[in-house]
C-alpha cells in the first residue's frame, strides 16, 4: 500500500476547479432546454394531441430505454455519418444536445404526472370563464404543476450535473476530462479521480442545501 499523494491532490484542485464553469455551463443549458422540451412533451401527452401523442410516446420510451452513453455516441459519432452537416458539431454541443434529449424524456413524465395532479375541476372552471387551452395551461395548470414537480426536477438537475462527466467520452475536456488527462500524465489515477469525485460531491451537496431551502419555501407557500 502506498500513501495518498496529498500534495499532488492539492496541486490538482485549482486545475480541476478551472473546469467547473464548463461543467455547469453544459448542465445549465441542457437543463433549461430540457425543461422547455419536457413541458411541451408533457402537454402533448396530457392533451392527447392526435399523432403527435404517439410520436412523443415513442420518443420518451426510446430516450428512457437506452443508456445515455449510447445516445451520446449515436449523436456525436453516429449521426454525422448520415447527415454530413453534423460533422462540424463539437463535443460540447453534442453533449448538451444528448443530455437535453435524455433528461427531457424523464422530466416530461414527472411534469405530466404533476399536470394530471391538478384537480380536473380547475380546468373546467377555467374553461367555464372562457379561457382558451393555452391560457388555462399557462395561468392555472402549469404554475401548480411546477410547484409539485419542482423537487423531482431538482433531482434531475443534480443527476444532469453528474452526467456531464460523460462528455469526456466525446473528447470534451470538462472536469472529468481534465482529471483523466492529469492522471494519464502522472499515473496517479487514484489521486486525480478522488479529487474530481470530491468536486462533484461538493457541488451536489451545495445544490442539495439549496433544494431543501426551496422545498421549505414551497411548503410554506402551499400551506399559507
Amino acid at each position: 500500500m502506498r500513501p495518498l499523494d496529498i500534495a499532488y491532490m492539492w496541486e490538482l484542485v485549482p486545475v480541476i476547479a478551472g473546469y467547473i464553469p464548463l461543467t455547469l455551463f453544459m448542465a445549465v443549458i441542457a437543463m433549461v432546454a430540457a425543461l422547455v422540451l419536457a413541458a411541451l412533451l408533457a402537454i402533448v401527452r396530457v392533451l392527447k394531441i392526435p399523432v403527435l401523442d404517439r410520436v412523443v410516446a415513442v420518443f420518451i420510451s426510446f430516450f428512457r430505454g437506452t443508456p445515455l452513453l449510447v445516445q451520446l455516441f449515436l449523436f456525436y459519432y453516429g449521426l454525422p455519418q448520415m447527415l454530413s452537416f453534423l460533422t462540424s458539431i463539437d463535443g460540447v454541443t453534442a453533449a448538451i444536445f444528448g443530455l437535453t434529449m435524455h433528461f427531457s424524456a424523464y422530466m416530461a413524465e414527472s411534469i405530466r404526472g404533476a399536470i394530471l395532479g391538478v384537480d380536473r375541476s380547475q380546468w373546467e372552471a377555467a374553461q367555464s370563464i372562457g379561457m382558451t387551452q393555452g391560457q388555462l395551461l399557462r395561468r392555472i395548470v402549469l404554475p401548480q404543476a411546477a410547484r409539485t414537480a419542482a423537487p423531482t426536477l431538482m433531482n434531475y438537475f443534480i443527476d444532469m450535473i453528474k452526467s456531464t462527466s460523460l462528455a469526456f467520452t466525446l473528447g470534451v475536456t470538462e472536469m472529468m476530462g481534465a482529471a483523466q488527462k492529469e492522471a494519464a500524465g502522472s499515473f496517479l489515477y487514484l489521486e486525480a479521480f478522488l479529487v474530481v469525485a470530491l468536486f462533484y460531491w461538493a457541488i451536489v451537496e451545495l445544490l442539495s442545501v439549496g433544494q431543501r431551502r426551496m422545498e421549505l419555501h414551497l411548503g410554506k407557500a402551499v400551506a399559507r
Partner: protein
C-alpha cells in the same frame, strides 16, 4: 315576453347512453328557473352542455343575439357561449394558485382583456357584494367552504353573464355554511339575474324560483310555477319524486 335564452331540442349522448333526450327550455329576461329531479337524470349535464363543458350533440342554444347549432359548433361559438354563461360548481373549483381577488379578476384580465386597475375595481365591488371585502388576499386553502363557494359565485358574477348556471351550489358544503351561500344566491336572484339552478334544496327553490322544472330520464317531465309543482303536480313521476325528497 319572448325568450332571452332559448334551448331547443338539446341532445347529449355519452357513448351509447343518451343522457339528454331533447330538452326544450325558454327563459325570459330575468327569469329564475330551478331544475329538480332524481339523481342521474341529466341535470348537471344540461348545465354543462349550456356552458359547453360537455359539448351537446344536437340542438340549438340561443342566448340574446348569439345562436349556436350544437351539431356545427366550432371553437369560436364555444368561447362566445362561455362568455355569456357564468357557471358555479358544486365543489367550488377555485384556482388554488390564485387569491380570492385574482380568482374573480382572472376572467376579466385574461379573457376580456380589461386593464388591471379596472378589473381590480370590479373585483373590489364583487368582494364587497359576496361579503368578503377583507379577504381578497386570501388563498382558497385559507377560506371556509362557504367562503370558497362565495368566491366561486363571485368569479361567475364577474363575467356579467346573461345566464348564470348553478349546479347544486350548496351540496358539498358543511351544513353550517349552507345558509350564507343561499343568502348570496337569493340576493343575486333578487337582482333579477336570469339563472338556471339545479338544487336539492326544495324550500329554497320554491322561494327564489319563478318556475320549477322537473327532469327525469333526460327529459323535462313537467314545469310550472313553484306553487303548482309543489302543491299540485300533474305528473305522477313529479309527485313521487317530491314525496321522496319530503
Amino acid at each position: 315576453m319572448s325568450c332571452e335564452i332559448d334551448i331547443a331540442g338539446l341532445v347529449k349522448r355519452f357513448g351509447g347512453n343518451t343522457v339528454l333526450n331533447g330538452i326544450d327550455l325558454c327563459l325570459k329576461p330575468g327569469e329564475r328557473v330551478a331544475v329538480i329531479g332524481p339523481s342521474g337524470t341529466g341535470k348537471s349535464t344540461l348545465l354543462r352542455c349550456l356552458n359547453f363543458l360537455d359539448p351537446p350533440d344536437e340542438g340549438r342554444i340561443t342566448i340574446g343575439d348569439l345562436s349556436v347549432d350544437a351539431a356545427r359548433a366550432g371553437k369560436a361559438d364555444m368561447l362566445a357561449l362561455r362568455r355569456r354563461t357564468g357557471f358555479v360548481f358544486q365543489n367550488y373549483a377555485l384556482f388554488a394558485n390564485k387569491t380570492a381577488r385574482d380568482n374573480i379578476m382572472e376572467g376579466l384580465t385574461t379573457v376580456r382583456n380589461w386593464p388591471k386597475p379596472k378589473a381590480e375595481e370590479r373585483a373590489r365591488e364583487i368582494l364587497q357584494q359576496i361579503g368578503l371585502g377583507d379577504r381578497g388576499d386570501s388563498y382558497p386553502s385559507a377560506l371556509s367552504g362557504g367562503q370558497q363557494q362565495r368566491v366561486g359565485i363571485g368569479r361567475a358574477m364577474a363575467l356579467d353573464a346573461e345566464l348564470m348556471l348553478f349546479d347544486e351550489p350548496t351540496s358539498a358544503l358543511d351544513p353550517e355554511w349552507v345558509g350564507e351561500v343561499l343568502d348570496l344566491i337569493r340576493r343575486i336572484a333578487d337582482g333579477r339575474q336570469t339563472m338556471l339552478i339545479v338544487t336539492h334544496e326544495m324550500q329554497f327553490a320554491r322561494e327564489i324560483a319563478d318556475r320549477i322544472v322537473f327532469m327525469e330520464g333526460g327529459r323535462i317531465v313537467e314545469q310550472g310555477p313553484p306553487a303548482q309543482i309543489f302543491g299540485n303536480a300533474r305528473d305522477e313521476r313529479t309527485r313521487a319524486f317530491l314525496r321522496r325528497v319530503g
